[in-house]
Each structure stands twice: as C-alpha cells, then as structure tokens.
C-alpha cells in the first residue's frame, strides 16, 4: 500500500499538466510498473515462483540427464529436435516441463489475479486511484498487463535459461526451426497462464471478498484437473460402444471423448504444446488405417503443426480474450463508491 500512495503522489504532480495522450500513456505505464513491483514484492508470488522454478528446473535437469545418458532411438523422427525434447522428456522421476507448466501455470495465474480488484476495493484504494484524472479502465488494464508482463518474463527467462544450459551441455545451438517452435511454445504458455489470470481477475471483479474469488478460481482449477477427468471416465463408461462395434462407431466414440476432454483448458494447452514440441505428431485425434497407409514418419513443418492444433490454440486465445472482456465489462459497470 505504501507503493500505491507513492504512485498517487507522482500522479498528483502530473495534475497541472494537460492530459494529452502521452501523459495518459505515462500514467498507464506508472500503473503497470507499480503493479509489477507489487507482484514481485508480494510473498504469495515469491512462494509460488519458488515452487514453479524449483519444479521446472528439476524437471528440466532430469530431462537433460536422461537425454544425455540415453542413446537416441534409431529411426526416431524427433531425434533432430534435441532442444524440443528437453521440454517433453522425463526419466520417470519427475513429470516433464510441459506437464508441470500445465499443472502449476493455472495456480500462478490465479495467484496473480484473484485479489486484483476486490482487495483494492476493500482497502478503499480503488476510489482514490480512480479519483485521479485517468481513464477508469486503466486500472483494470494495468492489473492485467502488469501480471502478464511478470508471467511473460518468468517463462521466457525459464525457457531461455534451459536452452542456454542445454547448449552449454551438448555444445551445439538450437536450429532455427527449434527456435521458432520454442518461441511459439513460450507464447502458448503465456496465453494459457493469462487465461487463468483473466479468469481470476473476473472473479475478483465479481466477488467482494478476496477469499471467495480465490476459492472459486481454485475450485475451477481443481475441477478441471481432478474432477473433470473422473467425470469423463464415468461418461466414457456409459457411452462406451460394444468391443465388437463397427470401426465407424468406435471412431465416433473416440471423437466424442476427445471433444469432451477439450473442454478443459489444460487439455487445449497440452494438445498445443504436444504439436509444437513433437514435430512428428501428425494428428491429435484417432486415425483410420487408410489415413496411415503410405505415410512416412517424418517431422511436420511448423506451419502444418500449428494447423493441426490450431483449433485448440484458437479456443485458448479466444477464451482468454473473452474472460478479459467479461471482467472489463463488469468492472466498468461496477459501483465503486461505497
């Protein structure tokens, strides 16, 4: 809160100046900077950051060890993509990097967003900030952009660190193809965490108590990570076709189950990362034998990989934007005088 007041002082100094566009941007950038500073100094963030860093570094380390000590499998079409394999390989002791991010990324997003609006509101800070000559949406935008910057910097540096360490270890740099794929993987990870961030910001706008918004957000996360797979299993049992059913029926069933699973954001994320990090994957759904006839196992060009998982990526990006739009809408219509 001290920092917030400090910010207000700065803003007050700006008051005599005419509020042109540059000043608006300046004010916004100050809001964002304060937001980032708040996050970095907050204990909840530091603790979560430590958990994520430790687990990710541990999984990357085990992956590097596993890759270093095992001879490549002959005829492995992914053999040329060493740097991609680091993020997907595991020697069994730890889940691989992309699984960890899929699991802990939501927690990070929730942690950065669940008290974004309601804590300020409860602390009577919201009214004071918005009494400054800035646009009202700057507050929410700054909350979002600040948290997004923190997430982006965190994952970018984590992946860059891994690439650097791997380059040191093996003695050759990643190829251009791998760099492209890793760049897109970073973007996708940021979008995925941003989705949970936006969702928790939405709850922080809707619910007056921080505890409520935090619990609701974590409940949704728990639902999708723990209960949703159980529900899907129950549904699968119910609609499972006879083992002697025709191929078409089995295909239809598998498509249906996949569609159900893709309602979970983590499934969308893992589909996207699998396509980006394993270039030899050619399809995410079940395939007919006739589709595989004559197929040569070879890595797909990046463009084709994106096309295969494009609908999943679109869903993730669109959900993120829609969540932001919803929180924006509710925030703008919120009664802030109390």
């Amino acid at each position: 809160m001290v920092s917030k007041i400090f910010m207000l002082i700065i803003l007050k100094e700006d008051l005599p100046m005419t509020l042109n566009k540059n000043n608006n941007l300046y004010a916004f950038s100050i809001l964002v900077k304060k937001e980032i500073a708040d996050h970095i100094r907050s204990w909840k963030f530091i603790i979560l950051l430590a958990i994520i860093l430790l687990t990710c570094i541990a999984s990357l380390y085990t992956a590097l060890q596993a890759l270093k000590n095992t001879a490549p499998v002959p005829n492995d079409p992914d053999a040329a993509f060493f740097f991609l394999k680091i993020f997907t390989t595991s020697d069994g002791t730890m889940p691989s990097f992309h699984l960890f991010v899929g699991f802990l990324g939501p927690l990070l997003g929730i942690c950065l967003g669940f008290d974004a609006v309601n804590s300020e509101f409860n602390g009577r800070m919201l009214g004071r900030i918005l009494s400054q000559p800035i646009h009202r949406d700057y507050f929410l935008n700054a909350k979002f952009i600040g948290a997004l910057t923190v997430i982006g910097v965190l994952f970018t540096s984590l992946i860059l660190l891994t690439i650097g360490a791997a380059t040191l270890l093996v003695g050759f740099p990643p190829t251009f193809m791998e760099c492209n794929r890793l760049f897109l993987f970073t973007l996708l990870t940021i979008v995925y965490v941003a989705f949970w961030l936006n969702l928790s910001i939405l709850f922080s706008v809707r619910f007056r108590h921080t505890a409520t918004s935090a619990l609701v957000a974590i409940a949704i996360w728990l639902f999708f990570t723990v209960f949703y797979p159980i529900i899907i299993n129950i549904v699968a049992k119910a609609v499972q076709p006879n083992p002697y059913a025709s191929d078409a029926e089995i295909m239809q069933y598998q498509h249906f189950m996949l569609t159900l699973m893709r309602f979970a954001p983590s499934q969308l994320y893992s589909d996207g990362t699998n396509m980006l990090l394993m270039p030899s994957i050619r399809s995410l759904g079940p395939l007919h034998m006739e589709q595989l006839q004559g197929a040569i196992p070879s890595p797909l060009p990046i463009w084709e990989s994106i096309k295969v998982a494009w609908s999943q990526m679109v869903a993730l990006i669109a959900c993120t934007i829609v969540c932001f739009a919803a929180s924006y809408y509710f925030f703008m219509r919120k009664e802030i005088r109390c």
Binding site: E290, Q291, I296, K307, V308
Partner: protein, 375 residues
C-alpha cells in the same frame, strides 16, 4: 603320253647338269625356292628310268646343312631305295624341315640317286622372319547385349627365330573399349620368344548406348618388324532400359488434401532398342487418386524421352505430413519404378475460421473499450 613327254623334255632342259645318257634321272619342278625359317618344304621328286632295263636307285640327300632334317616317302613308305621299271617313273615325296634358328642366306644340297644322277636343290632362307607371326582366334564372332563384355580367346604366334615384343591394339570407334590380358594380367604389349605362341584374352566392351547391329573390331599385334591383324565380330542384340524421373530429378512435392496436383515426369529410354507400349502406373494409398496423363506411351525410340504428367490427389482425410507413393513405367521388356514423396498440407479453411473467432473476441474488447472505457 604326250604330256609325259613334254614333262620329260622340260625336265631335261631345267636339270641342265643331268646327263642325257643317264639311265636314272631325278626331277623336281622347283629346284630353287624361298622359305621362312621353321617352314617345311615339300618337294615332289620324280625318278625316271630312261633305260630299257629295271633299275634300282639308292636315293639320299647330300650336303644337307647342319640341324636341317628331311623325310623321304614314296607311297606310304619311307624308302631309301627305289626300283623303277624300264621307261617308267616313280614319285617321291621329300620333306625338308628348315630349322627355325637359322641364318639368312642361300643353302644348297643335292638329292642323289647313287651312281646315277644328282639333283641340286637351293633353298633361299629369308631369315629375318618378316610376315612370320600369326594372330588368330578360334572364335571370332560373339553375340550379346550392349551391357555385356565380349571375351575372345586369341593366340599370337611368333614364327621368327628371335624373341619379339608385340604391341597389342585395336582400332576402335569412340566409346568402345578393348583390353588385352595375358596370364590374367592386363597388358598393352607382349613379349614372345621365337617360335612360341601366347594366349591372349581380348575383352571388348561396347558403349552402353550402342545400337543394335554387327560391329567389326580390327585388332593388331605390331612388332618392330611386322604386323598381324585379327578381325573380331561383335553382334549387339540391343538393350532395354527405362527410367522414370522428373525433369529436375526432384522426387518430392507438396500437395493439399483433396486437391489435384500435377507433376511433370520424364520417361527416358536408356536402352539401345526402341520400346513400345509403355504403361505408366501410380500406386497411391487408398482414397488417393493418382494417375498419369497419358497413361500409355505407344513407342519410345532409343535414347529419347517423353514428358508425362502425373496427377495426384491426396485423400480428403489425409493427415498433414509425408506420404510415399510408388510410380512405375513398365513394358514387356523392362520397367522402372520410383518412390515419390508427397508432403500433404491441410486446407487453410479452418485456420481462417480460427482467426475469425479471435478477431471477433478482439472486436468485443474493442467495443467494450469504446463503450465504457473513455467516458
């Protein structure tokens, strides 16, 4: 009778030192001849009895040079004494074997009917051995395809008395090859002792593009003194070769699922015979469509090529990535097949739909900002 009289008279004139009054007379047609060393001279000698009584003649060869040898036969017998009835004659066969190691020059010796007459004979030895080598082969004709190697067994005989070095060569048309092998080693010249024979293996290699037909390969063995030739005959039956490729040699392409893709192919006749009725065929995974246009080439001349178009349409449900299809060209004689890699790309339609969805979401945010953000 008249004939015998004429011979008799001629004999008297040529054999000038034959005494007219002699009762037994020796006669031969060629008392002076030229031979090469190592040759065998075959004399036909007549023994004529001029008297009215039967006479015995002891026939011998006198003053024969050292190392020379002879053999005398009358009828089937080797005879030394011959008896001739009055006014009759008897034929003798005299073989004089000229030694191979001999000086050049004139050699004289006499055939003598003891006490009766003497026939001087002169042999002129042209000892340097010119035209005294022989290059031949028992089988000078061979047949095979353009891709086969023709191996001939030849032998070279040095008839002269001295060792000679023969250079072996062939007057070949461009593209042909000839190698000579002696004792399993490839050689370009061969050293042969006097009066010795060496077996030479001649390998003829026709060019791959050689046309069907009969070819004569002139070979020679040349020594400083002489040259002998050998003509070999090679009959090419023609080869059949077919190649299916693309003009650039690139055997991969990209194609979009459920959309036609045409690729230029080249059918080449790499053989030396014309090919007819070449069928072009494409075997692609099921649900794919692949065919050639035209699907049949009626004739393709040797060495020529023709462009055909392959039309490939990946299946509607083909997944992105690489597929392999096999294309082949075939006729009765030969065939070629090529593995072609098709990288399937998926349609962009759903990509645009996705972009549209994102655009709608962004537009929603923009709308909200316009409506509420800047009041």
């Amino acid at each position: 009778m008249l004939k015998s009289r004429i011979i008799y008279l001629l004999g008297m004139i040529l054999a000038s030192n034959v005494a007219f009054a002699q009762n037994l007379q020796l006669y031969t047609t060629y008392p002076k001849i030229s031979v090469s060393p190592g040759e065998v001279i075959d004399y036909n000698v007549e023994l004529i009895n001029n008297s009215s009584v039967t006479r015995n003649g002891r026939i011998s060869l006198q003053n024969l040079p050292k190392n020379w040898d002879y053999e005398m036969k009358s009828g089937n017998y080797s005879a030394e004494e011959i008896s001739v009835l009055p006014k009759e004659r008897k034929s003798l066969n005299l073989k004089v074997i000229v030694p191979s190691k001999i000086e050049k020059g004139q050699y004289r010796f006499q055939l003598v009917a003891q006490g009766e007459s003497s026939l001087p004979l002169t042999v002129d030895v042209t000892t340097d051995g010119k035209s005294s080598s022989e290059f031949n082969s028992p089988q000078t004709n061979m047949e095979g395809s353009a891709k086969s190697t023709f191996t001939f067994n030849a032998s070279l005989l040095n008839r002269s008395s001295e060792a000679q070095v023969y250079r072996l060569g062939a007057n070949l048309q461009p593209g042909w090859g000839a190698t000579f092998k002696v004792d399993g080693k490839q050689v370009s010249s061969v050293n042969i002792e006097g009066n010795q024979r060496k077996d030479i293996l001649v390998e003829i290699l026709p060019p791959e593009s050689v046309k069907k037909g009969k070819y004569t390969i002139p070979l020679f063995a040349q020594s400083p003194l002489n040259q002998s030739d050998l003509s070999l005959e090679v009959v090419i039956t023609g080869s059949y070769g077919l190649q299916l490729t693309t003009p650039e040699g690139l055997l991969s392409t990209t194609a979009t699922a459920n959309r036609d893709k045409s690729i230029q192919f080249l059918v080449k006749n790499t053989g030396s015979s014309d090919l007819s009725q070449i069928n072009l065929n494409a075997s692609a995974p099921s649900q794919w469509e692949a065919h050639f246009e035209p699907s049949r080439i009626s004739t393709l001349k040797a060495g020529e090529s023709q462009t055909v178009t392959a039309i490939i349409k990946p299946a509607k449900k083909a997944i992105a990535g690489d597929y392999q299809i096999t294309l082949d060209a075939k006729n009765n004689e030969t065939s070629d097949s090529v593995k072609f890699r098709v990288t399937v790309e998926t349609s962009l339609l759903w990509g645009w739909v996705g972009i549209l969805i994102i655009a709608i979401a962004v537009a929603l945010v923009y709308f909200l900002i316009r409506k509420y953000g800047r009041r």
